[in-house]
Amino acid sequence: MEIGERRDGNILVLRPVGRIDNDTSPDFQSRLLSGLTAGAAVLVDFSAVEYISSAGLRALMMGSKQSKAANGKLAVASLGPVVKEIFEISRFAMVVQVFDTPADALAALR
């Protein structure tokens, strides 16, 4: 899947595009985990994500676990309406920090 990437200081910002589902979650997981090195701060900008399935959320959970084990930080921002609903249904706001905007998330991750 297409995953945009930039750096804001020491923070890696990933911006996946489209659906994170059974077809695309392996790519998302692979890119997310490779970014979560020791002490790394990673923001996933969901502004271009239309949908996320349980497989995509599972990838996010693996990222959260890896981040905690490596003393890193992980946050997500800019959930669209459908993704926001899925985060609510799955109770994933209890797993990762969710911010309204990338700016809010970056401020918290610095």
């Binding site: 059974n22 392996p26 497989a55 676990k65 899925i86 799955s90 109770r91 797993v95």
Partner: protein, 321 residues
């Protein structure tokens, strides 16, 4: 086939306390404000309860642990699990036919964890000579577990002294059996000490009873064995005890699944009706109703060629296939 739920709660029975009952009465009265109650007929009051109150107010998802009856139209009774719900099933049977009628029962046991067998010492037909109870399951040593459950000092009546003839029948997963006119097949499930799901078919209709099963796929594909096991089922009774977040974090490896995994699996397998089962004992009726609404919404969000009906089991629910 008629499917009747006698016990829908997971892990442990959860009776309503007086506070919960009082809160329901209060909510019902609040909802009735403005109605001229003294001029309403009993039928109008029944219609108000059925149509104007949410089920979490007018009813309850229930307190008994796992027990589901399959009415096959045959002479024998068929049950899935004998949690605390089987006590009420036995009492209803005796109230209907009296204790003199001798019956044959086929129990399909998902596993021997306590919440799935705890009703058996209170299953009155097991005390009546002439009744025959066959307990089918894929675990070895089922009889020993039932004996232990009813041993001194935990219970005053030894299992071996029960009046009914009780037999244990070990089934092999993957093999199809014909029992009381039903085709039955079992599948091994991921649960501490294993559990087994059962697929029942008769006259072109099929029902799957799949409780206490944790699904841990990274990516869901057609090759996942449960997709085939659930394929085109008219009814899928599915353990959806947790949220996805709980299932894959703090409660990982506890052996249960979530509502989101339920929807994804049911839709991929083209199931017609999904019934969420084995409700989390921490959840009150309002929370179970909230989860039901969210699960229906998730089924809508997921594009599926066939509409999936989603329900939450409650003690007393009946579904005709």
């Amino acid at each position: 086939m008629l499917i009747r739920f006698w016990g829908s709660r997971g892990s442990i029975p959860t009776p309503l306390g007086y506070r919960a009952v009082r809160a329901k009465v209060r909510e019902a009265l609040m909802a009735a404000r403005g109605l001229k109650l003294d001029s309403l007929s009993p039928e109008a009051i029944d219609a108000f309860i059925a149509n104007e109150l949410p089920f979490s107010v007018s009813g309850t998802y229930g307190g008994n642990s796992s027990c589901v009856e399959i009415e096959t139209g045959g002479d024998e009774y068929v049950l899935c699990d004998v949690g605390s719900g089987v006590r009420e099933f036995g009492n209803a049977l005796i109230a209907k036919h009296g204790p003199a009628k001798k019956s044959r029962f086929n129990v399909f046991l998902s596993h021997t964890h306590w919440d799935h067998i705890m009703g058996f010492p209170f299953f009155t037909p097991s005390y009546i000579p002439g009744n025959v109870i066959r307990i089918h399951g894929c675990h070895k040593g089922m009889r020993d577990v039932f004996i232990r459950q009813q041993s001194d000092p935990c219970f005053p009546i030894d299992f071996r002294k029960l009046g009914a003839t009780i037999e244990f029948v070990e089934l092999e997963p993957g093999r199809t059996y014909e029992i009381d006119g039903l085709s039955v097949k079992a599948i091994r499930q991921n649960h501490p000490s294993d559990s087994y799901g059962f697929r029942f078919s008769k006259n072109g209709k099929s029902m799957v009873y799949s409780t206490d099963s944790e699904h841990k796929f990274d990516v869901l594909t057609e090759s996942y064995p449960f997709v085939e096991f659930f394929r085109d089922a008219d009814l899928l009774i599915f353990d959806a005890q947790y949220s996805l977040a709980d299932q894959i974090s703090v409660k990982e490896d506890w052996g249960h699944s979530s509502n989101m995994v339920a929807v994804e699996l049911a839709q991929l397998a083209r199931v017609k009706h999904l019934v969420m089962y084995h409700h989390e004992p921490v959840f009150d009726d309002r929370m179970i109703e909230k989860v039901l609404g969210e699960t229906r919404r998730y089924a809508e969000i997921n594009e599926s060629p066939q509409k999936l009906i989603v329900s939450s089991a409650y003690d007393g629910l009946e579904i005709v296939l």
